[in-house]
Symmetry: C2
Subunit: 350 residues, 2 copies
């Protein structure tokens, strides 16, 4: 019998943050691709478009006028999925027809006044302003809400309907499914192993150097051992930090720098603007601000849809939706590709 080789032999890997398994079938990359090819991202976004509701000075859906902002700009989503005053559906439901109240707010945050720029092309000082704004909104909405989800959908492939660089913030009076899972897994791990899950994980990955994409004094980006999406990455502080607002000034500058390096590498990989959904997971807020949340470690997930090129995506369909997530190359193979990629953005090389 041959000895086990992760590049040749499918196996399952455990995701300790979601208490689930991913099927790794690396040999599947050998299969030819004859399926759908995506449109490459468009390159002709104007720097300023008065009809784009995210631009400085634009009129938005319900008539509000944006200020002539020159750095970040945050406003209430004009079509919010969560509103602060939705009435309660009532209790006393049959076990098969249960519903409950959902309250919250949705905000949009522009990163920059220009529509034709993305995070990896911004100055570190400009990215730092984005980070400060993120910390601010967690403090502001976290005072009332249990969970404040900051997320960025980048690229048309990721359902982003506006090329202007921006993210969204959805705060809710409930713990969303993914947050509840991360909460349970991290709590159980600390109890069982005496150290926060992601603090231990960051230390071990920094030592092993098998899955580290970029790192600096305060931060580490890895393709996690249990990554589901081919180029999925996990951004982790080295120090134990439960929430974004807890970051020091130095750690924020250092975060701006590592984000820029990671995202430049991503764009350089397929020589095109790299689509993804990303988001921050920090300790729950609201009433949890008063509780011991030492099992939580702040982290950001990057979920990019691509598999083979800027126009060939990984489809999470069929088997993945109905049975089990499956990936076509190992995280360690991804690292072999990522390691040699330049950290200077292709649009800024001279």
């Amino acid at each position: 019998k041959p000895t086990f080789d992760p590049k040749e032999h499918q196996h399952l890997r455990y995701n300790p943050l979601r208490d689930s398994w991913v099927l790794v079938s690396a040999h599947r990359m050998k299969r030819p691709w004859k399926g759908q090819v995506e449109k490459p991202p468009e390159d002709n976004t104007p720097r300023h478009d008065p009809n784009n509701p995210l631009c400085p000075g634009s009129v938005r859906a319900h008539g509000e006028v944006n200020p002539e902002y020159d750095s970040t700009f945050m406003f209430d989503n004009d079509f919010p999925a969560l509103q602060p005053d939705a009435p309660d559906p009532g209790s006393d439901h049959h076990p098969l027809f249960q519903s409950k109240a959902a309250r919250g707010v949705c905000k949009v945050m522009c990163f920059h006044p220009w529509s034709d720029i993305t995070l990896p092309l911004m100055q570190p000082a400009e990215i730092r302003k984005v980070i400060d704004k993120w910390a601010e909104v967690i403090v502001e909405l976290g005072a009332e809400y249990t969970w404040v989800q900051i997320f960025e959908n980048k690229g048309a492939m990721m359902g982003c309907s506006n090329p202007h660089p921006h993210c969204q913030v959805w705060a809710s009076n409930f713990l969303p499914n993914e947050a509840a899972l991360a909460e349970r897994c991290q709590r159980d791990f600390l109890q069982k192993h005496g150290e926060p899950l992601l603090v231990q994980y960051a230390r071990m990955e920094a030592q092993a150097q098998e899955r580290v994409v970029v790192e600096n004094e305060h931060w580490l980006v890895v393709v996690p051992y249990w990554a589901t999406w081919p180029f999925q990455t996990l951004l982790l502080p080295r120090r134990h930090v439960p929430r974004l607002p807890d970051l020091t000034a130095q750690e924020r500058d250092s975060l701006a720098s590592i984000m820029k390096r990671l995202l430049a590498k991503n764009d350089n990989l397929f020589e095109d603007s790299f689509p993804y959904s990303m988001g921050w997971h920090g300790a729950p807020t609201g009433s949890h601000l008063q509780e011991d949340m030492s099992h939580w470690q702040l982290h950001a997930h990057y979920y990019p849809p691509l598999l083979r090129s800027a126009t060939i995506r990984k489809f999470m369909v069929g088997y993945e939706m109905l049975a089990n997530e499956q990936r076509d190359l190992t995280p360690e193979q991804v690292l072999e590709q990522m390691r040699i990629i330049n950290e200077t953005h292709l649009n800024q090389m001279t």
Copy 2:
């Protein structure tokens, strides 16, 4: 304070088959869509293409020649994600770096010798042959494997790389995540409530008639109360049937008929071939064939990606990936649309 209206007020609904919640924000359909528009499905598939590896008589990737089949045809996937003989990665792993062996087989099953036909355009007797073949492969692979996942990816939007009507069968020596979840939820429900979850659910939906898309003597198709995808449906037998091979001849004919009606309605909805991933969930097999599995009820999930039209999809990104699944219209609103749709396929109307 206004009284609760599910069409106007976001709320959470509980999915008892996955023990999770979906955020229903129906008022969000009011937002205009300026994002990605998909290519409509191509209409020019030739009936027979000697270069298509799924056609009768074609030569496949590793040189095998397909027979001149005239109904269904099943063969081993030429690029299988699961192979029967993968070595074990070994045990004794750190809790953060756990892996385990995955063994199995992957098969492809053609529904029909023609490439330019789909299930809703096939004769009921032809669909019946597909159902019989499904039952056969569950018996065959289920003798050895714990889980036999039958699934169909339809349409380029769902990662389907070949227009020839076909499905896949992936059998594994482990319970995939989704199967494990369905197993736990159904087991707990029977224990707590004394009746199988989906048997009770089918009865209640048949009575309420609020979410029933099509039904006949033996089967029921509903947009489940907890549906995540806008046009998601759940196909359920009325009788308690743990696995596909347990279906009687009458129930199989009746299944062929209801599948044809459902899929014709789906195609008619946006007047174009309707993409989806679908799959069967029946009681686990292998060693479980000897156990009491009376908590299980056979069912099929249909997960279509569309939201507004044949070219505008629902993106499950950002908030959905990082926090919580979210839908933009209620299942009951979908029913208002589905109810008036013709059951005769648009290509067969005269």
